[in-house]
């Protein structure tokens, strides 16, 4: 008797459409991924606003400062990825920022300081922070608010 030998066949699906889709997905996620979010303190409760909008053109040089009250009631500043226990102690870092801006030919008066302050912090703390920045000739401030479109 003749025994037929079963031939093992390799099944090959057409993967081309899947790869196309996957590349499209990657392109999409690459475009919307935003690494600048890392400098934002996400636990902070920002004030919200209906009319605050992101500026049309980005500033030449920007410093983002997060200001909140710690559990013991003292203000805490977080910027350039560092935590500061008091507003008075940010001076050295501000000086460094000023120099790094000067290296990019941006005068201190053009540096934009974005203040992301907790909505329940006393405003005098925000003014204290502004006064500290003014000591380093910074004068452009932005009060950050969450866009509230309803």
């Amino acid at each position: 008797m003749k025994i037929k030998k079963a031939r093992t066949k390799i099944l090959e699906g057409d993967l081309t459409p899947m790869i196309d889709m996957t590349f499209l997905l990657i392109a999409f996620f690459m475009l919307i991924v935003n690494f600048s979010e890392t400098e934002k303190d996400q636990d902070l409760e920002l004030p919200d606003s209906k009319v605050a909008r992101t500026p049309d053109e980005p500033p030449k040089y920007q410093i983002v400062m997060n200001l909140r009250t710690s559990k013991d009631g003292t203000p805490r500043v977080n910027f350039v990825g560092k935590n500061f226990a008091s507003i008075a102690s940010i001076g050295t870092e501000l000086e460094l920022e000023k120099r790094s801006a000067a290296a990019q030919k941006v005068p201190p008066s053009e540096i934009n300081v974005v203040i992301r302050a907790d909505r329940y912090i006393a405003f005098s703390k925000v003014q204290e922070l502004m006064a500290k920045c003014q000591e380093y000739e910074l004068q452009k401030f932005s009060l950050r608010a969450k866009e509230n479109i309803r």
């Binding site: 090959e12 993967l15 899947m18 790869i19 996957t22 590349f23 997905l25 990657i26 996620f29 690459m30 919307i32 991924v33 935003n34 979010e37 934002k40 996400q42 409760e45 920002l46 004030p47 606003s49 209906k50 009319v51 605050a52 909008r53 992101t54 500026p55 507003i87 008075a88 008066s109 974005v114 992301r116 302050a117 907790d118 909505r119 329940y120 912090i121 006393a122 405003f123 005098s124 703390k125 925000v126 003014q127 204290e128 922070l129 502004m130 006064a131 500290k132 003014q134 000591e135 000739e137 004068q139 452009k140 401030f141 932005s142 009060l143 950050r144 608010a145 969450k146 866009e147």
Partner: protein, 194 residues
């Protein structure tokens, strides 16, 4: 004549497995780092050093609107939506009590904030809009400047609401109409001495 059958075509097959592996890894990475965050907007505040400021000429005194924000030391129960969309109730001290507007030599106007019954921020916005519209020349309205004086303990959120009220309004067609661009805060000397 005998026509020869076409030569059997040889298909070239690419090994795509390795590429797909890497592509999937990339995809997973980007999906994991993807985070939906609320958009954020800014209010511009210009605060040059006091010594750099030119003295305000007398004829320009009418261009400065001075707004004083008074705090309410009593705790007020407020309900709001937090970042996760949940309703949160908490007692907050030092919310806004009233707003006083001084413009040139006109009589000061005061708006008391009574929460839902009377919104002082809305009243302030309407008042500022009235000042802008009373300017005969639109280019003159651009020269208007607001200086805020804020009680030290007033919460930041209410200050931002007042800044919002003077800086823009929402028109009937839901577009944002800018109002006053020059905003500054009165230097209270806080911080500099501390």
């Amino acid at each position: 004549m005998k026509i020869r059958g076409g030569q059997e075509k040889e298909q070239i097959k690419l090994q795509t497995t390795a590429m797909i592996d890497i592509v999937f890894q990339l995809l997973v990475f980007f999906i994991m780092t993807f985070k939906i965050t609320a958009l954020e907007g800014d209010f511009q505040v210009n605060m040059p050093q006091a010594s750099d400021l030119p003295q305000t000429p007398i004829e320009n005194i009418d261009k400065t609107i001075r707004i004083h924000l008074y705090e309410n030391p009593q705790a007020i129960r407020i309900t709001y939506l937090n970042a996760d969309g949940k309703e949160v109730t908490r007692d907050v001290r030092n919310t806004l009590q009233s707003i006083e507007v001084n413009h040139g030599d006109r009589d000061p106007v005061t708006f008391s904030h009574l929460g839902k019954q009377y919104d002082a921020f809305k009243a302030l916005r309407d008042h500022i809009q009235g000042i802008i519209e009373s300017e005969a020349d639109p280019s003159q309205a651009k020269e208007l400047e607001v200086e805020f004086e804020v009680d030290p303990n007033l919460i930041h959120g209410d200050t931002v609401r007042a800044v919002e009220a003077v800086s823009a309004r929402i028109g009937e067609d839901r577009t944002i109409i800018p109002m006053i661009e020059k905003i500054k805060f009165k230097d209270t000397g806080a911080g500099a001495g501390e």
